[in-house]
Amino acid sequence: MKSPDDFRSRIEQQRPYLLRYARLQLRDRDAAEDAVQETLLAALRGEAGVAGRSDLRTWLTGILKHKIVDAVRRASRDSAVSLDAEDEAGELHELFDARGHWAARPTSWDHPDAALEQAQFFAVLETCLQQLPVKTARAFMMREHMGLDTEDICKELGITATNCWVMLYRARMALRLCLEGRWLGAQEPPRK
């Protein structure tokens, strides 16, 4: 038999992870803390639901995702106007020549798997993510960090599917460039 205090301390242990998870999407410490707080409260109320579950973190993250989506929805509503003016991907045009071919061909990254073992790599990745325009980053993280469908992302952000795909494409292009410049390309430049 487990006491309620035991359950409480077990979910409390997950707080740092949940905070980090929320902050990656929301980019706002206060909003992230609110979402995590709501999640932990909901978890305490729904303790029965977790009885048979082996993975507490997965269960809590599932609750947290809903709270984050709520927060994103509120944020999108508040800032809908100002963000519509977001850049029209000017810099991406320079990646291709007039005929649509690479202006500078991507160089292949050697041993990217090794990067995934290094904390420093993730710090660089986070920096690159922070450099994305707000709305682009929001869509990208909803897709890749939270694993939502584009359909849901469109709905929450109030954009069309095509718009969403373009935004995700732009985010990936920008992140690739940023990572190449700051990490993977810089490690060992394989010029061929």
């Binding site: 992870y17 291709f96 990217p112 990745l125 986070e126 990936r172």
Partner: protein, 66 residues
Amino acid sequence: MKLMLTCREATRLASEGLDRELGFGERVALRMHLAICRGCTTFDRQMKFLREAVTRLADSERSPES
């Protein structure tokens, strides 16, 4: 869907393939392009790596110094 893609179009499709199911014509066109274009093949691989990296991001604060 035309058969010969430019790199700009191919990268766009490679990206969209991560977000929606591509149509048959799109898949064929993309595969044909990747077969002859090293730059876009590299790009395609990097996009998959990026996905993997972001997926692991939340877990990445295991050991700050290592």
